[in-house]
Symmetry: D5
Subunit: 118 residues, 10 copies
């Protein structure tokens, strides 16, 4: 069930599939909802990956991330779930996802997931 | 005795316990009291850890840190003590605690503790 | 009752009482307590005044502001109260007090009081 | 109809109603939806007002602003509408609302409304 | 002839035509061509206006500005021309256009046009 | 066909061919066109290389990059293509090309290519 | 004699001579020589003017400013002299010249000249 | 007695005595001693003046300010005293002196003196 | 003789002597005198050390550093000397001292000493 | 011939010759002339070295660098030449020279030379 938004992610053929290079995508407008309080959370996602056969299509990525707008989900959970979705669809050489959330109660949180785990 | 605030720290089950990932928590509103002068100290705590079985619950962390508000304790001592409490409760794969205190007499201090020691 | 900390403020003779000049004092370590939630608030106070007969003594100002550390009081109230205390003790030509509080629920607040009102 | 969220705004008695002073509130987590494209918009609202009989209660302001989360509305419209709601409920001496929206198509927009108009 | 791109600018009805308020639009991706050297120029346009009957539609503004991409025109000329086009189409209460161009030969230039002239 | 602009790149003899040193070139005025939407893209290219027999002549590099001004090409493709052209002409000891593009739909992208792949 | 570089300044016809608008030119690469010590001075010149009949041509301005490269002249003198030259050649509606010099002996200096004097 | 360092200040003839222009001098390396605690104070002095017949010679200004290095004197006193010395020696059209001191006890202070008083 | 200020440095028992952790101390108000010109030098000292049996007491460190206020000594010499004093008194696991001096003649200098040498 | 300015560089005995430590010198006021266009180039030189028997005397370094003020020389050439001169005179344990030049034609360049080559 955690992968129900996954099929929104579209890809296109990597134009240089033989080369090991890096794409970094920064999404400062991520928002979801805290499952405990019902209050919205706001954060910046940074995706860094080395494409293998395919690259992620940016408009589909934007629409995929918008699905979380009214989704109740914890920081640690949403970050791992998006990393799982991206890794499953892109099958990248490697991928890092960093999610930095704005302060709540004077405390701000950043979650980082790496694939493969180093 | 150094662990008398420790039981305020609550945890929740790590949703991805098999993955080695990182959570960074920044608390810029830490304050305690200098045991020598009785004057308040102010600092920013940065906690970076890789959860094992559990994650720290943020609201309990906030309340735990507020216990030091009127506690007389030196920089080096409070930083090590909080690191001990977090490590005992979270049993993390690894944890770093950095405490940056605002200037006193034109001198500012930062204490950093790592677990396990590298 | 609102002036019970006021007598902690000490002054010294203005060395140039005939000249209209300005003193700005910035106190980034102000903290009080929210009377509704019991949670601590944090802010930066900026005092700008033109002394008449006396100047405020800085150490007494620091100790005066520390009295609010465990005081339950709203933003609008504490700012006006401190402005009242400073104006009563210093009898300045003019004074502006700006209090900027750190974010709560993603919202940050700044209160500004001027004497005399322009 | 433009005022259907208005009754969510709560107030409390201005503790210093006779003094002309200023409150600035910054809300960097505002989000609504573009009525043309259905895409989310993101912006920072800055409210500056001089209270008369009442002050705005911050938690109610947060919840009021969250009502726009899934509302389809243009920049110029939402800024004027919020200014209208705040002015109607607070009846302030004066109020300025500035809404700065993040870039779309390489273009960023800021709308500013003042009450009374100068 | 200077107004041949002007008809690309579209407008929509000002939702609050009776109120004197301000819209600021920043376009950091402006580019045209130096008529003397044939080299591309790059700059940031900032449009600040108070709408009367209509507001400028942002997508049409973007497309209008893109017309200058391969146009050979001097700094002073292009800034005045765009100000003329915007003023003719919007008939605003007032408008300021600031064009900041990136350095050439170690010298950077900013041109500012105001309507009406103050 | 991807190398049709390549012959615009000129070189001059490396004055210190026996030394392994580094040249970094930053080009903040790169612009091309999105092949899908026809909209212009804007970015900053950073070229870091260790010259072998020759160095790149800066004016020819500027003119070469200007060829992409009206070229419809994706981020991943243009970055790899420019890296290929530079590597073919310069035959450097090593080269890194980083292309950072401005936000589209609230998302910004950076592509990095290294030669030889590490 | 103070105007011996003046005839290097070239102008072109103001394309909008009837409008009162502003041109700001920043030259961060100004250098001259201290007449007392023989050491080079470095500064940033900012020229802001409202053109009347003519505008200054930027390349000629650059070459004019380069004449001071080996000229021994004090800060106050060179700033006033350049302001005189620009005012004599441009006959502007108004002009401000600000020259900010880098620190010497831990002291930095900025000289500002306005025409006409306000 | 307050003027015993004054005669160290040297001047030179204003090269443009008929013009009303401005010189700003920033001295970030000012240090004196607190007369109460004997601890050193550190600050940045900013002098802005419009010269009449003479300008201040910068090296003499540096040496004059160094006299305060081991002088026990309060913030408000030293700022007014330096302003008096500069005004007496330069007889300027107008002068502003701003002295910003680094934090002590978490509190920083800036004193500003203007001549003539506005 | 180089160690004549050394006995001013006081220590206290390291509260966690078995743990390898780090303390960073920043002192932006260091000043000494150039032995060649007699002019004051200004710099920022950054001390980073891992305590063994003892920690440095901050007030004694402040007083120790103030001893150099009127001491004529070169950059390279004073940095190594302070590093020697700290290492002799603290007997730390490791220590780094970085001294950054403000510009002289447009040139700024930073000296870094590590113990043990890596 | 490339070493004709070299003998201007003076040294003094390293006060701690047995210790491996580092000196960083930043010179933001470097200027030379482009041999192709005759236009002045501006840059910042950063020298980082570990002294062996001698240290570089800063005033002689300043005068040495001023020799390039009217010298026509390319970026790659001047950086390697200064690195050669410094290495020949200082015989350091290691040295890095980084030269960052300001933009020309929208392109900025940085050249880095290391000794010994790693």
């Amino acid at each position: 069930m955690t992968d129900r938004f996954r099929n929104m992610l579209e890809t296109f053929d990597n134009p240089y599939p033989k080369r090991d290079y890096t794409v970094e995508i920064v999404c400062p407008e991520f928002t979801s909802v805290c499952p405990k309080t019902g209050q919205p959370d706001f954060g910046t996602l940074t995706i860094t990956y080395a494409p293998e056969a395919v690259c992620v299509e940016l408009k589909s990525l934007k629409l995929y991330l918008q699905q979380f707008r009214n989704e109740g989900i914890y920081y640690e959970n949403v970050t791992n779930r998006i990393a799982d979705d991206l890794t499953a669809v892109l099958r990248p050489r490697r991928l890092t996802l960093t999610a930095s959330f704005t302060p709540r109660g004077g405390i701000s949180t950043t979650v980082t997931v790496r694939y493969p785990e180093s």
